[in-house]
């Protein structure tokens, strides 16, 4: 019985971990041009121009912008694409 209880507890924690979304965060760097970053956000994230510009400005002024949130696998794929465009991007798990 005690073993079963342990397994149940573990499964619960895994489910919790899976349900917590992963964020894609883009960080500021002094080299990438504002127009280029806006273009990349439009292409990779499918943002309309005004939303892409808003996130670009957030990166520029605040040092980072959360641009996407969801499943980890997709978050990693987005970061890979952003690295292909030479943007500084990371994934991080959202706080509960």
């Amino acid at each position: 019985m005690s073993g079963a209880a342990v397994i149940t507890g573990t499964e619960t924690r895994d489910e919790d971990a899976l349900s917590v979304p992963w964020n894609v965060v883009v960080h500021n760097d002094p080299v990438n041009l504002m127009s280029y970053v806006t273009m990349v956000f439009q292409r990779v994230l499918g943002f309309p121009r005004d939303r892409a510009t808003r996130h670009m400005l957030e990166v520029h002024h605040k040092g980072r912008s959360l641009v996407w949130s969801g499943e980890r696998e997709r978050a990693e794929a987005i970061v890979e694409q952003l690295h292909g465009y030479l943007l500084l991007a990371t994934i991080e798990q959202a706080e509960l």
């Binding site: 002094p30 080299v31 041009l33 690295h83 465009y85 990371t90």
Partner: protein, 159 residues
């Protein structure tokens, strides 16, 4: 230097001053100097110091693809630049529409590498102070600004 769309649909850089032609000619070579800019060109996918597994997986599975992408971009640009000759003697470059992304990528590689090699800070990169062309650092800034100017033109073209 003029940048315009040709009747063929390609983009053309024409009437390129010899100084800028030489900077263009060396673009693929500059963009391939990855040694001192590894951390910036291939950044960590996570800021979480504890996620060593993701870093290992990234290095093993993602980085090779990025290296191929970057090398492929440099190769495309190098072919487009053949019209300039090895030292930039020519004054015209044709950029097919399908090559715009490769150009943007190679220009970005080159700018990031120059900044890393010369430890240029954000304050160095603003345009308020003209670079001192008597110094290596000033010449590096000139290259960064010239490549940025080209990037701006190409982003507009790609949009």
């Amino acid at each position: 230097m003029r940048f315009r769309r040709a009747a063929s649909g390609s983009w053309e850089l024409r009437d390129i001053h010899p100084l800028f032609a030489s900077l263009l000619a060396e673009l693929p070579k500059v963009a391939s100097r990855h040694k001192k800019a590894q951390a910036r060109l291939y950044p960590d996918p996570t800021g979480d110091a504890g996620d060593a597994q993701l870093r290992r997986d990234w290095k093993e599975h993602v980085r090779p693809g990025l290296e191929r992408l970057f090398a492929g971009s440099r190769d495309i640009v190098a072919r487009d630049l053949q019209s300039l000759g090895p030292h930039g003697q020519g004054n015209k470059v044709v950029i097919p529409d399908s090559h715009l992304d490769a150009w943007l990528n190679a220009l970005n590689q080159a700018r990031l590498i120059i900044v890393e090699e010369n430890q240029l800070a954000e304050s160095d990169l603003d345009h308020r102070e003209p670079p001192d062309l008597a110094t290596r650092r000033g010449l590096s800034l000139l290259k960064v600004h010239f490549y940025a100017h080209l990037q701006e033109l190409l982003v507009e073209a790609a949009g």
